[in-house]
C-alpha cells in the first residue's frame, strides 16, 4: 500500500466512524430522516453506477430491481413469515437472476436505444405489479408492526434505520471498490471506451456487462427491501416508478459518473435540495419545489456535464497548474480541464 492509498484508507475509516456516531449527536427526527434519505439515495446511486458509470450502459429502468427487492422481502414476510433479512437477500438474488433477462433483451442495443428499452422493461414490470392481486395490486402492501427490533428489521426509533442504510452504502461502496480494482473493472473500462478493441482482444463484452448489471441489480434490490422495512408500506407507484429509475441515474451523474464517491456527493446535494425545497415551498401545493428542483437539474446538466466531481477536478487542475507552472499557465489549465472531462466521460 503506498502513501496516498493509506491516507485515503485512514480518511475513509475516520469518515465512517463519524458517520456511525452521527445519530448520537443529532436528536432531531426530521434531520435524522434527511440523513437516512441521503444514505439511501447514495446507496442506489453507487449501485447504479456499476452498470451506468463503469460499464457505460445508461439504464433508466433500475426501479424494476428496486421494486423486485421491495416486493420479494415483503411478500415473503407477509405470506410465509420469512425474516426480512433473509427476504432482503432473496430479493437481491432474484433481482440478479431477473437481470439476466433484462440484459439478454437490452444489451445488444446501444446508447439511446438501450436507455429506452430499459424504460420499457421497467414500465412492463410496473404494469404487472399494478394488476397482480396476490401482490396487493395498485393498493400496495402494508407491513404490520407486530414484531420489532433488530431480528425483524422494524424499529419505532429511526436510528437503527440510519445504521442499516449506512451499512448498505458501505457494502455497496466496498463491492464497487473491489470491482474497480480487479480484472472485471479493467475489462469494463475497456469495453466502455473501446468496445471494438476490447472485443478484438477477446473480451466477452456481453458477459462483463452482465456481471456489472447483475451486481448492480443485487444491490439495488437490497435498497428496495430496506425501503419497504423503513416505510412499512409499498405500492407500485413508490417502488417501481420511472421517476425513481431516473433519480438513481441522476444521483450518479450529478456527482460524477464512473467515480467511486461521485454518487455519494450527488446524493448529498440532490436529496438536500429536494428536501429543502419541499420543506420551504412544498406547502403551497403549486409545484414551486418541483420548479426549483428541475431548474437545478438543468443548470447542473448544462454547466457541469462531468458532474460535480468532474467540475471540482477541473477547478483543482486549473489551480494546481497555476501554482506549479506559471509560464505555461493557460496550456496547463486547458489540459487540466480536458483531463477532468476525460475522467468524467470514462
Amino acid at each position: 500500500m503506498n502513501g496516498k492509498s493509506s491516507t485515503l484508507a485512514l480518511g475513509s475509516a475516520a469518515a465512517l466512524l463519524v458517520a456511525i456516531a452521527l445519530p448520537f449527536v443529532i436528536g432531531d427526527a426530521s434531520r435524522l430522516n434527511l440523513l437516512i434519505l441521503v444514505l439511501m439515495a447514495a446507496q442506489l446511486g453507487v449501485a447504479w453506477n456499476l452498470i451506468g458509470g463503469y460499464a457505460g450502459q445508461v439504464s433508466l429502468g433500475h426501479a424494476a430491481f428496486y421494486g423486485i427487492g421491495a416486493y420479494t422481502s415483503t411478500l415473503l414476510l407477509l405470506k410465509f413469515g420469512i425474516n426480512p433479512w433473509l427476504g432482503m437477500f432473496a430479493g437481491g438474488v432474484i433481482a440478479a437472476l431477473l437481470s439476466l433477462a433484462f440484459g439478454w433483451s437490452c444489451f445488444r442495443l446501444k446508447g439511446h436505444y438501450f436507455a429506452m428499452a430499459t424504460i420499457a422493461v421497467a414500465e412492463i414490470v410496473q404494469i404487472v405489479f399494478t394488476n397482480w392481486d396476490y401482490g396487493g395490486a395498485a393498493v400496495g402492501l402494508t407491513i404490520p408492526m407486530t414484531h420489532d427490533g433488530w431480528a425483524w428489521m422494524v424499529f419505532p426509533d429511526k436510528r437503527p434505520y440510519y445504521w442499516i442504510a449506512l451499512g448498505l452504502l458501505v457494502l455497496t461502496l466496498a463491492a464497487t471498490a473491489i470491482v474497480e480494482r480487479c480484472h472485471v473493472g479493467y475489462y469494463l473500462r475497456a469495453l466502455k471506451d473501446e468496445p471494438d478493441a476490447a472485443r478484438s482482444i477477446g473480451i466477452d463484452i456481453t458477459r462483463y456487462k452482465q456481471i456489472a448489471l447483475s451486481l448492480s441489480a443485487f444491490f439495488t434490490a437490497l435498497g428496495g427491501s430496506f425501503y419497504a422495512q423503513k416505510e412499512l408500506y409499498i405500492d407500485p407507484g413508490s417502488v417501481l416508478s420511472t421517476a425513481l429509475s431516473i433519480k438513481m441515474a441522476l444521483v450518479s451523474i450529478l456527482g460524477g459518473i464512473g467515480t467511486l464517491f461521485g454518487p455519494v456527493v450527488g446524493a448529498v446535494v440532490l436529496t438536500t435540495i429536494e428536501e429543502l425545497t419541499r420543506a420551504g415551498f412544498g406547502g403551497s401545493g403549486r409545484g414551486t419545489d418541483t420548479i426549483i428542483y428541475a431548474a437545478l437539474i438543468i443548470a447542473i446538466a448544462v454547466f457541469y456535464p462531468g458532474g460535480l466531481i468532474g467540475g471540482y477536478r477541473a477547478w483543482a487542475g486549473r489551480r494546481s497548474s497555476r501554482r506549479t507552472a506559471r509560464g505555461y499557465e493557460p496550456q496547463a489549465a486547458v489540459h487540466g480541464e480536458a483531463h477532468a472531462r476525460d475522467e468524467a466521460l470514462r
Binding site: S105, I127, I298
Partner: protein, 288 residues
Amino acid sequence: MTAEILLQTLASGVLIGLIYALVAIGLTMIFGVMDIVNFAHGEFMMLGMYASFWMFALFALDPMLTLPLTVLMLFAFGVVLYKLVIRRITNAPMVSQIFTTFGLMILLRGVAQFFWRPDFRSIENSWVSGTVKLGAFQLGRPQLVAGAGAIVVTLAVYFFLHRTKWGAALEATAADKEAAQLMGIDSHKMFALAWGIGAACAGAAGGLLSTFFPIFPEVGANFILIAFVVVNLGGFGSVAGAFWAGILVGVIEVMGGLLLGPEYKMAVVLVVFLAVLMFRPQGLLGKS
C-alpha cells in the same frame, strides 16, 4: 366478438394512432437532426393543449380556429428553448443531454401546475363535438377531425422537408452536420428550426387533442413513452416511418386493450416494442 366491435376498435386505434404519429414526428425530427432525445416532448403537447384551452376559455375561440396560432406559439417556444438551453448541450455527453431534457420535462410540469393548478380541465361543446355514424358503427367527431388534422400537419411537414430549400438544408444537417456546414448551412439555425418544428408538431397534436382529452399538467406522461416507441419502430429520424408506426402503435394498443383488458394495453405496446428492438434494432421501417 362481433365484426362491428372489431372494426370500430380498429378505427379508433387508427385515429388515436394518427395523434401518436404527430407527437412522434416532432420527436423524431429533433432526434434525426441533432441526436438528442427530448424527454420534454409530451410537455410541449401539454402546452399546446393549454394554449387551446385558454383561448377557448377566455376569448371563446374554438380550438380548431386557434390551431394555427397554437402551432405558431409552440414553434416560437421551441426556437427560444433551443437558444436558451439546448444550444449549450449540443456537444455534451449523452447523459447530460438526457438530464437536461428530463429536467425540462419536470420544469414544464411544475410551471403548468404553478400557473394553472393540477385540476383536470376540458373543452365542452366545441365545433367538433358529437359523433358521426358511418353505417353500422359510430365514431367521435373530435377524434375524426383530430385524425384528419394530424394527416394534414404530417403532409405539411413532409412537404416542407422534401420540397423546400429549408427542408433540404435540414435534411443535409441531419445527414452530415460538418459537410452541410461546409456548404454554408448554419447548423445552429437548423437545430433551432428542428426544435421549432418539433415543438410545433407537438403543439398541433395538443390543439387537436384538446377537444376530447382531459387537460392537466401531467398529461404529457401518457404520450411520451408511446412517442418513444413510435420513433423507435419508425426508425430514428424518419418522418414517414413515424407516421406509419404511429398508426400501427395506435392499433396495437386498442387491440391489446380489447383482448387483454384496458389495464394491459400499454404493456402490449411495450412488449411489441422490445420484441421489434431485439430483432430489428433499426426499427420496423428504418433502414439498416
